[in-house]
Amino acid sequence: MSTVVLLIITGFGLGAMYFLIASGLSLIYGLMGVLNFAHGAFLTVGSYATWYTETKLGGISVAPRFVLAALVGLAVGTVFAALVELVLIRPLYGRHIEQVLVTVGLGLCVTALASAIWTNDAKFVSLPRWTARTTGVLGASIPNDRWLEIATAAVVLFALQLFLRRTRYGLIVRAGVENRAMVTALGIDVRRAFTLVFAIGGLAAALAGVLSALYFGTVDPQRGTSLLIFAFIVVVIGGLGSIGGTAIAAVVVALVQQFANYYASSGMGDLSVVLLLAVVLLVRPHGLTPAAAT
């Protein structure tokens, strides 16, 4: 029983990271039709900025230092993503293949640059001591960082929904996902929404970067890419452009992965996720939910 509880809660923690990456991917794809291969790079940039700030901040105790470093990481990730949209994606509007190719190139460059400067080794992040302790739930000892991951993802889910449903820009984004040409025809500049969506995606990905530092205790240059692949699977299963669907799919994928890895053998989790994707696509080619930013 305690193992099952541990697996479920760890699965939710992993799902939280998948959701944070996938929600940005899903919004960007839904609105702009760009499959963003640089999304893993946003995560890398955010997590390395966090780690780097932390090593440079001496003299204060661990907890505030980590919070401060995380805030810097988030800011850097957001600004980086917005710049990518403005500088690299904007000149290629309407040329989807080229946009995808540029994000592929950017993903390669950022990963290579990170490993050139800071080597391929994982870097340890000093974390507040609270995160290393465990809490007992129904006989299972749950590492405390899992709660933080789940809570963060829940807040982001709530905030995104609020943004999409209650604000004017959210309305434009939702309308743009539905029918971009019509929104443009109504005289609304969708391009500002593009930059906004990229910034939000970058923020969420950088947040995932910070949380992955909590989850694994380290940052490393390849993590963005490896998490990105599962985020892609989550996005496709959840239905492109749908935040609610993405959240459900993230949890389902992470749970399937955790349980298969534990009860079958390690590596089986990844295979079962792929199988899940194949089954979902065969039964419902458009994912679990129809495309609409809800």
């Binding site: 050139a116 994707l277 194949a278």
Partner: protein, 333 residues
């Protein structure tokens, strides 16, 4: 005939390369007939052929697959495992792998081609990821039973000829397929799939045909690679390897006659030689801000790739010519 003259002369020249004790100072470390240089040339040719198989999908049929590495990995791993674990001879292993190189893409292609565009890219990516997970679980494969002419440092020239034969073979088969009537349908699908459907053809069948052909040729490439490296490393199974193929094709020029081959040669060359060039005097005297990124081949290649996308959309093959954009590739997404 005139158009044939230059390529034929080039292939003949390449075929004689192992007999030429010529030094090419900056480009290669040692003379042309030395095993080190031949090995690099053989790798370049293998990847050139491989890039061409990817171009069949991406450049000619408009299918953006992120799982092409899987079929290459099938060639490397299945042949390797058949020889080392199952103790099969060389030829039975090759035949079995080749057969698998038709059956697997037939099955996986039939599943993934049910969806188009981005979803297709994702499904192929997922299948390749699954293959990569399997490979990383049992990474060790080394050779035992290669024919004696393909083993040993003195026989590097045979490996080189094998790679040359692969590149030329893939190119000839590919060109023949592209110019055949199904090949014309592939290009029509790339241009406008709906229209092909309206004309009464089933795009699915033709896409599957292209998928199986490209994957089969990639599997053969995997066997050539296994022989060449006499071993396998799981890096060639991952999605980043498919991205490398995509980079080769785009740098060279997607859907053009020589593009993929040129891209494969240039990419592989840079990937192996940039590290050496970075150690050269000109670069080691630079300040570390510039030096560090320049030592990372993938950084340079990524940068070149982005620059090509912006400033030379036709790739190297179309540099300097009037730009005839494959507008149709837009439709693929």
């Amino acid at each position: 005939m005139k158009r044939l003259a230059i390529p034929v002369a080039l292939v003949a020249l390449l075929a004689f390369a192992p007999k030429l004790a010529v030094d090419i100072p900056v480009l290669f470390k040692s003379s042309l007939d030395s095993p080190g240089t031949l090995q690099l040339l053989a790798l370049m040719l293998t990847f050139a052929g491989l890039a061409f198989t990817y171009d069949l999908l991406f450049g000619y049929t408009g299918l953006l697959s992120f799982g092409h590495a899987l079929y290459f990995a099938v060639g490397v791993y299945v042949a390797g495992i058949a020889m080392t674990r199952w103790h099969w001879g060389f030829w039975p292993a090759v035949l079995f792998t080749a057969a698998l190189g038709i059956v697997l893409p037939l099955v996986f292609g039939a599943v993934s081609l049910r969806v188009g565009g981005i979803a297709f890219a994702m499904v192929t990516l997922a299948f390749a990821q699954a293959g990569s997970v399997l490979a990383f679980k049992n990474p060790g494969v080394d050779y035992t039973k290669l024919p004696s002419g393909l083993v040993g440092i003195l026989n590097t020239k045979h490996l080189y000829w094998l790679a040359l034969a692969y590149a030329v073979g893939v190119f000839l088969i590919g060109r023949w397929a592209i110019n055949s009537s199904p090949g014309r349908v592939w290009q029509a699908i790339r241009e406008n799939e709906l229209r092909v459907e309206v004309l009464g053809l089933r795009p699915f069948d033709f896409k599957l045909m292209a998928f199986v052909l490209a994957s089969f040729l990639a599997t053969i490439g995997g066997i050539v690679y296994l022989v060449l490296i006499s071993g396998a490393s799981p890096e060639v199974t991952g999605p980043s390897f498919t991205l490398a193929l995509l980079v080769m094709v785009v740098i060279g020029g997607a859907g053009s006659r020589w593009g993929a081959l040129v891209g494969g040669l240039v990419y592989t060359y840079l990937d192996h030689r940039l590290a050496d060039l970075a150690g050269s005097h000109a670069i080691s005297t630079l300040p570390s801000v510039l030096r560090t990124p320049l030592q990372e081949p993938l950084f340079i290649l990524g940068l070149v790739f982005i620059l090509v996308v912006y400033f030379a959309p036709g790739g190297l093959a179309r540099l300097g010519r009037i730009r005839r954009r494959p507008a149709a590739l837009e439709e693929a997404l």
